[in-house]
Protein backbone atom coordinates (compact mmCIF):
# COMPACT_ATOMS: atom_id res chain seq x y z
CA UNK A 1 0.00 0.00 0.00
CA UNK A 2 2.82 2.31 0.90
CA UNK A 3 4.31 1.76 -2.53
CA UNK A 4 1.08 2.48 -4.31
CA UNK A 5 0.77 5.76 -2.47
CA UNK A 6 4.27 6.73 -3.47
CA UNK A 7 3.58 5.90 -7.07
CA UNK A 8 0.39 7.93 -7.05
CA UNK A 9 2.19 10.85 -5.52
CA UNK A 10 4.91 10.62 -8.17
CA UNK A 11 2.34 10.59 -10.95
CA UNK A 12 0.56 13.56 -9.41
CA UNK A 13 3.82 15.47 -9.30
CA UNK A 14 4.45 14.65 -12.95
CA UNK A 15 0.95 15.89 -13.76
CA UNK A 16 1.63 19.15 -11.91
CA UNK A 17 5.04 19.51 -13.53
CA UNK A 18 3.75 19.18 -17.08
CA UNK A 19 1.34 22.04 -16.44
CA UNK A 20 4.32 24.36 -16.69
CA UNK A 21 5.05 23.20 -20.24
CA UNK A 22 2.51 25.27 -22.12
CA UNK A 23 2.66 25.16 -25.93
CA UNK A 24 2.86 28.44 -27.84
CA UNK A 25 -0.57 29.90 -28.57
CA UNK A 26 -1.82 30.14 -32.13
CA UNK A 27 -3.03 33.74 -31.99
CA UNK A 28 -1.72 36.17 -34.57
CA UNK A 29 -4.37 38.78 -33.83
CA UNK A 30 -5.15 39.10 -37.52
CA UNK A 31 -8.71 39.47 -38.65
CA UNK A 32 -9.96 36.74 -40.97
CA UNK A 33 -9.82 37.97 -44.53
CA UNK A 34 -12.69 38.06 -46.93
CA UNK A 35 -10.22 38.16 -49.83
CA UNK A 36 -8.16 35.05 -49.18
CA UNK A 37 -6.21 35.58 -52.39
CA UNK A 38 -6.07 38.03 -55.29
CA UNK A 39 -8.79 36.25 -57.21
CA UNK A 40 -10.84 34.54 -54.54
CA UNK A 41 -13.55 36.35 -52.67
CA UNK A 42 -15.24 34.83 -49.63
CA UNK A 43 -18.84 36.01 -49.24
CA UNK A 44 -19.98 36.80 -45.68
CA UNK A 45 -22.12 33.68 -45.27
CA UNK A 46 -19.26 31.42 -46.40
CA UNK A 47 -16.79 33.30 -44.21
CA UNK A 48 -19.04 32.85 -41.18
CA UNK A 49 -19.12 29.06 -41.66
CA UNK A 50 -15.37 28.83 -42.27
CA UNK A 51 -14.64 30.96 -39.19
CA UNK A 52 -16.91 28.90 -37.03
CA UNK A 53 -16.03 25.40 -38.18
CA UNK A 54 -12.56 25.52 -39.77
CA UNK A 55 -10.43 28.39 -38.50
CA UNK A 56 -9.54 26.93 -35.09
CA UNK A 57 -7.14 24.58 -36.87
CA UNK A 58 -6.84 26.12 -40.33
CA UNK A 59 -5.86 29.71 -39.61
CA UNK A 60 -3.46 31.73 -37.48
CA UNK A 61 -6.16 32.32 -34.86
CA UNK A 62 -7.51 29.65 -32.56
CA UNK A 63 -10.32 30.17 -30.07
CA UNK A 64 -8.94 28.28 -27.10
CA UNK A 65 -11.31 26.37 -24.82
CA UNK A 66 -10.61 26.02 -21.06
CA UNK A 67 -9.19 22.49 -21.28
CA UNK A 68 -6.51 23.65 -23.66
CA UNK A 69 -4.83 25.20 -20.61
CA UNK A 70 -4.59 21.83 -18.87
CA UNK A 71 -1.82 19.54 -20.09
CA UNK A 72 -1.68 17.24 -21.90
CA UNK A 73 -4.89 18.57 -23.50
CA UNK A 74 -3.10 21.67 -24.75
CA UNK A 75 -0.31 19.64 -26.31
CA UNK A 76 -2.78 17.46 -28.07
CA UNK A 77 -4.54 20.51 -29.44
CA UNK A 78 -1.27 22.14 -30.47
CA UNK A 79 -0.33 19.08 -32.50
CA UNK A 80 -3.74 19.14 -34.20
CA UNK A 81 -3.42 22.82 -35.05
CA UNK A 82 0.08 22.32 -36.41
CA UNK A 83 -1.09 19.54 -38.67
CA UNK A 84 -4.20 21.45 -39.68
CA UNK A 85 -2.26 24.58 -40.63
CA UNK A 86 0.26 22.52 -42.57
CA UNK A 87 -2.48 21.10 -44.73
CA UNK A 88 -4.50 24.27 -45.13
CA UNK A 89 -4.12 27.75 -43.66
CA UNK A 90 -6.70 30.30 -44.74
CA UNK A 91 -4.42 33.14 -43.59
CA UNK A 92 -1.68 31.88 -45.90
CA UNK A 93 -3.93 30.96 -48.81
CA UNK A 94 -2.97 33.99 -50.88
CA UNK A 95 0.70 32.97 -50.71
CA UNK A 96 0.03 29.54 -52.20
CA UNK A 97 0.86 28.95 -55.84
CA UNK A 98 -2.14 28.81 -58.16
CA UNK A 99 -1.54 25.06 -58.54
CA UNK A 100 -1.80 24.66 -54.78
CA UNK A 101 -4.81 26.97 -54.45
CA UNK A 102 -6.69 24.82 -56.92
CA UNK A 103 -5.75 21.62 -55.09
CA UNK A 104 -6.80 23.09 -51.76
CA UNK A 105 -10.18 24.21 -53.08
CA UNK A 106 -10.79 20.74 -54.47
CA UNK A 107 -9.63 19.16 -51.21
CA UNK A 108 -12.00 21.40 -49.25
CA UNK A 109 -14.92 20.23 -51.38
CA UNK A 110 -13.77 16.59 -51.12
CA UNK A 111 -13.28 16.51 -47.38
CA UNK A 112 -16.58 18.25 -46.62
CA UNK A 113 -18.35 15.96 -49.06
CA UNK A 114 -16.74 12.86 -47.50
CA UNK A 115 -17.48 14.11 -43.98
CA UNK A 116 -13.81 13.79 -42.98
CA UNK A 117 -13.76 17.47 -42.02
CA UNK A 118 -14.34 18.86 -39.45
CA UNK A 119 -12.76 15.87 -37.71
CA UNK A 120 -15.05 13.92 -35.34
CA UNK A 121 -12.86 14.48 -32.25
CA UNK A 122 -13.15 18.23 -32.79
CA UNK A 123 -16.90 18.07 -33.24
CA UNK A 124 -17.17 16.05 -30.04
CA UNK A 125 -15.98 19.06 -28.07
CA UNK A 126 -17.27 21.78 -30.40
CA UNK A 127 -20.90 21.08 -30.96
CA UNK A 128 -21.47 24.42 -32.67
CA UNK A 129 -18.95 23.54 -35.37
CA UNK A 130 -21.23 20.89 -36.86
CA UNK A 131 -22.00 21.66 -40.49
CA UNK A 132 -25.62 21.48 -41.53
CA UNK A 133 -26.56 20.17 -44.97
CA UNK A 134 -26.96 23.75 -46.14
CA UNK A 135 -23.57 24.75 -44.69
CA UNK A 136 -21.91 21.87 -46.51
CA UNK A 137 -23.53 22.76 -49.81
CA UNK A 138 -22.57 26.40 -49.34
CA UNK A 139 -18.89 25.60 -48.81
CA UNK A 140 -18.70 22.93 -51.53
CA UNK A 141 -20.36 25.21 -54.10
CA UNK A 142 -18.10 28.09 -53.14
CA UNK A 143 -14.99 25.91 -53.48
CA UNK A 144 -16.11 24.45 -56.81
CA UNK A 145 -17.05 27.81 -58.30
CA UNK A 146 -13.67 29.30 -57.43
CA UNK A 147 -11.87 26.17 -58.58
CA UNK A 148 -13.57 26.47 -61.98
CA UNK A 149 -12.77 30.14 -62.32
CA UNK A 150 -9.10 29.57 -61.40
CA UNK A 151 -8.94 26.71 -63.91
CA UNK A 152 -10.42 28.84 -66.69
CA UNK A 153 -8.04 31.69 -65.96
CA UNK A 154 -4.99 29.47 -66.30
Amino acid sequence: MHRVKKLLLALFIVFLAIQFIQPARNNSGQVALSEISECIHVPDNVLAVIKNSCCDCHSNNTRYPWYSFIQPGGWWMASHIKKGKKNLNFDEFGNYSIVKQKSKLQSIANSINDGTMPIPSYLLLHNAAHLSKEDKKLIIDWANTNLDSLTNKN
Binding site: V4, F12, F15, W75, V99, K100, Q106
Partner: protein, 195 residues
Protein backbone atom coordinates in the same frame (compact mmCIF):
# COMPACT_ATOMS: atom_id res chain seq x y z
CA UNK B 1 -8.63 8.45 -6.96
CA UNK B 2 -6.19 5.79 -8.02
CA UNK B 3 -8.13 5.24 -11.18
CA UNK B 4 -8.12 8.94 -12.00
CA UNK B 5 -4.41 9.31 -11.54
CA UNK B 6 -3.73 6.19 -13.57
CA UNK B 7 -6.04 7.55 -16.24
CA UNK B 8 -4.14 10.80 -16.33
CA UNK B 9 -0.87 8.90 -16.64
CA UNK B 10 -2.17 6.87 -19.54
CA UNK B 11 -3.52 9.95 -21.27
CA UNK B 12 -0.17 11.65 -20.84
CA UNK B 13 1.61 8.79 -22.55
CA UNK B 14 -0.96 8.74 -25.31
CA UNK B 15 -0.74 12.44 -26.01
CA UNK B 16 3.02 12.42 -25.82
CA UNK B 17 2.99 9.67 -28.45
CA UNK B 18 0.69 11.77 -30.64
CA UNK B 19 2.98 14.76 -30.31
CA UNK B 20 5.99 12.71 -31.26
CA UNK B 21 4.38 11.48 -34.43
CA UNK B 22 3.26 14.92 -35.53
CA UNK B 23 6.60 16.55 -34.92
CA UNK B 24 8.34 14.05 -37.18
CA UNK B 25 5.93 14.91 -40.00
CA UNK B 26 6.53 18.58 -39.50
CA UNK B 27 10.26 18.03 -39.70
CA UNK B 28 9.78 16.37 -43.05
CA UNK B 29 7.70 19.35 -44.09
CA UNK B 30 10.38 21.78 -42.98
CA UNK B 31 12.99 20.08 -45.09
CA UNK B 32 10.62 20.16 -48.04
CA UNK B 33 10.10 23.87 -47.42
CA UNK B 34 13.75 24.65 -47.37
CA UNK B 35 14.33 22.91 -50.67
CA UNK B 36 11.56 25.01 -52.20
CA UNK B 37 13.13 28.19 -50.90
CA UNK B 38 16.37 27.24 -52.54
CA UNK B 39 14.60 26.84 -55.85
CA UNK B 40 12.99 30.23 -55.77
CA UNK B 41 16.32 31.82 -54.95
CA UNK B 42 18.06 30.16 -57.89
CA UNK B 43 19.74 32.70 -60.17
CA UNK B 44 17.43 34.05 -62.82
CA UNK B 45 18.65 32.63 -66.09
CA UNK B 46 16.16 33.58 -68.76
CA UNK B 47 18.18 32.50 -71.77
CA UNK B 48 17.32 28.83 -71.32
CA UNK B 49 13.85 28.26 -72.71
CA UNK B 50 13.87 24.68 -73.99
CA UNK B 51 14.41 22.15 -71.27
CA UNK B 52 16.71 19.21 -71.53
CA UNK B 53 15.16 17.74 -68.45
CA UNK B 54 13.60 14.30 -68.71
CA UNK B 55 10.57 13.61 -66.58
CA UNK B 56 10.56 9.93 -67.58
CA UNK B 57 11.15 8.70 -64.02
CA UNK B 58 8.19 10.73 -62.79
CA UNK B 59 5.95 9.55 -65.63
CA UNK B 60 6.90 5.89 -65.19
CA UNK B 61 6.07 6.04 -61.49
CA UNK B 62 2.83 7.88 -62.14
CA UNK B 63 1.80 5.27 -64.72
CA UNK B 64 2.61 2.49 -62.27
CA UNK B 65 0.31 4.21 -59.78
CA UNK B 66 -2.39 4.66 -62.41
CA UNK B 67 -2.30 0.93 -63.22
CA UNK B 68 -2.46 0.07 -59.51
CA UNK B 69 -5.63 2.16 -59.19
CA UNK B 70 -7.09 0.56 -62.32
CA UNK B 71 -6.79 -2.77 -60.51
CA UNK B 72 -8.03 -1.39 -57.16
CA UNK B 73 -4.62 -2.04 -55.59
CA UNK B 74 -4.32 0.51 -52.82
CA UNK B 75 -1.02 -0.82 -51.45
CA UNK B 76 0.72 -0.77 -54.83
CA UNK B 77 -0.56 2.76 -55.34
CA UNK B 78 0.82 3.74 -51.93
CA UNK B 79 4.24 2.34 -52.84
CA UNK B 80 4.20 4.22 -56.12
CA UNK B 81 3.36 7.33 -54.07
CA UNK B 82 6.53 6.90 -52.05
CA UNK B 83 8.59 6.39 -55.21
CA UNK B 84 7.01 9.41 -56.85
CA UNK B 85 8.18 11.69 -54.04
CA UNK B 86 11.73 10.50 -54.67
CA UNK B 87 11.41 10.93 -58.45
CA UNK B 88 10.00 14.45 -58.07
CA UNK B 89 13.05 15.42 -56.03
CA UNK B 90 15.46 14.01 -58.60
CA UNK B 91 14.89 16.72 -61.21
CA UNK B 92 17.93 18.97 -61.40
CA UNK B 93 16.57 22.48 -61.23
CA UNK B 94 19.92 23.97 -62.19
CA UNK B 95 19.27 22.90 -65.77
CA UNK B 96 15.98 24.79 -65.88
CA UNK B 97 15.40 28.40 -66.85
CA UNK B 98 13.98 30.72 -64.21
CA UNK B 99 10.42 30.47 -65.44
CA UNK B 100 10.53 26.70 -65.83
CA UNK B 101 12.15 26.31 -62.43
CA UNK B 102 9.27 28.27 -60.87
CA UNK B 103 6.67 26.24 -62.75
CA UNK B 104 8.41 23.04 -61.75
CA UNK B 105 8.71 23.90 -58.08
CA UNK B 106 5.03 24.97 -57.87
CA UNK B 107 3.92 21.71 -59.47
CA UNK B 108 6.40 19.65 -57.48
CA UNK B 109 5.25 21.05 -54.13
CA UNK B 110 1.66 20.27 -54.95
CA UNK B 111 2.35 16.86 -56.50
CA UNK B 112 4.45 15.81 -53.50
CA UNK B 113 1.55 16.56 -51.17
CA UNK B 114 -0.76 14.38 -53.24
CA UNK B 115 1.86 11.62 -53.51
CA UNK B 116 2.29 11.76 -49.75
CA UNK B 117 -1.47 11.40 -49.13
CA UNK B 118 -1.58 8.46 -51.55
CA UNK B 119 1.48 6.89 -49.90
CA UNK B 120 0.06 7.12 -46.40
CA UNK B 121 -3.54 6.12 -47.11
CA UNK B 122 -3.34 2.48 -48.14
CA UNK B 123 -6.64 0.99 -47.01
CA UNK B 124 -8.55 4.14 -47.98
CA UNK B 125 -8.58 3.95 -51.76
CA UNK B 126 -11.38 6.50 -52.02
CA UNK B 127 -9.19 9.13 -50.42
CA UNK B 128 -6.18 8.01 -52.45
CA UNK B 129 -8.18 8.46 -55.66
CA UNK B 130 -9.23 11.98 -54.66
CA UNK B 131 -5.56 12.89 -54.55
CA UNK B 132 -4.84 10.93 -57.72
CA UNK B 133 -7.40 13.15 -59.45
CA UNK B 134 -5.48 16.28 -58.40
CA UNK B 135 -2.10 14.66 -59.01
CA UNK B 136 -3.11 13.83 -62.58
CA UNK B 137 -3.67 17.53 -63.26
CA UNK B 138 -0.17 18.28 -61.99
CA UNK B 139 1.37 15.54 -64.13
CA UNK B 140 -0.53 16.86 -67.17
CA UNK B 141 0.96 20.31 -66.52
CA UNK B 142 4.41 18.74 -66.27
CA UNK B 143 3.97 16.97 -69.61
CA UNK B 144 2.74 20.22 -71.18
CA UNK B 145 5.78 22.08 -69.85
CA UNK B 146 8.54 19.54 -70.32
CA UNK B 147 7.23 17.18 -73.01
CA UNK B 148 6.29 13.54 -72.60
CA UNK B 149 9.17 11.97 -74.53
CA UNK B 150 6.79 9.13 -75.42
CA UNK B 151 3.27 8.65 -76.72
CA UNK B 152 0.77 9.29 -73.97
CA UNK B 153 -2.97 9.79 -73.88
CA UNK B 154 -5.01 12.17 -71.77
CA UNK B 155 -8.19 10.34 -70.83
CA UNK B 156 -11.42 11.50 -69.24
CA UNK B 157 -13.81 9.69 -66.93
CA UNK B 158 -17.17 11.50 -66.90
CA UNK B 159 -18.71 9.59 -64.00
CA UNK B 160 -16.19 9.91 -61.18
CA UNK B 161 -16.93 12.20 -58.22
CA UNK B 162 -20.71 12.42 -58.68
CA UNK B 163 -20.40 13.03 -62.41
CA UNK B 164 -17.99 15.90 -61.91
CA UNK B 165 -15.49 13.84 -63.87
CA UNK B 166 -11.74 13.45 -63.70
CA UNK B 167 -8.80 13.00 -66.05
CA UNK B 168 -5.77 10.76 -66.14
CA UNK B 169 -2.76 10.07 -68.29
CA UNK B 170 -2.25 6.67 -69.88
CA UNK B 171 0.43 4.94 -71.90
CA UNK B 172 -2.14 2.82 -73.75
CA UNK B 173 -4.82 3.77 -76.25
CA UNK B 174 -7.25 1.40 -74.55
CA UNK B 175 -9.14 2.83 -71.62
CA UNK B 176 -8.16 1.46 -68.20
CA UNK B 177 -10.10 3.56 -65.77
CA UNK B 178 -8.13 4.20 -62.54
CA UNK B 179 -11.02 5.99 -60.80
CA UNK B 180 -13.70 3.33 -61.05
CA UNK B 181 -11.26 0.42 -61.20
CA UNK B 182 -12.56 -3.07 -61.77
CA UNK B 183 -16.16 -1.91 -61.38
CA UNK B 184 -16.06 -0.05 -64.71
CA UNK B 185 -12.64 -0.59 -66.27
CA UNK B 186 -13.46 0.67 -69.76
CA UNK B 187 -15.52 3.71 -68.84
CA UNK B 188 -14.06 6.90 -70.27
CA UNK B 189 -12.67 8.41 -73.43
CA UNK B 190 -9.43 9.82 -74.78
CA UNK B 191 -9.45 13.58 -75.10
CA UNK B 192 -5.91 14.40 -76.15
CA UNK B 193 -2.78 12.72 -77.49
CA UNK B 194 0.38 13.87 -75.75
CA UNK B 195 3.91 13.69 -77.07
Amino acid sequence: MKKIVLGVAMLTTFFAACNGASSSTSEAKTSADSSTTKTSMAPAATEVTKSTVSIKGILDTYLKMKNAFAHDKDKDAANAGKDLIIELDKIDKASLGAEQAKTYSDIKDDAKEHADHIATNAGNIKHQREHFDMLSKDIYQLVKTFGAGQNLYYDHCPMYNNNKGADWISETKEINNPYLGKAMPTCGSMKEELK
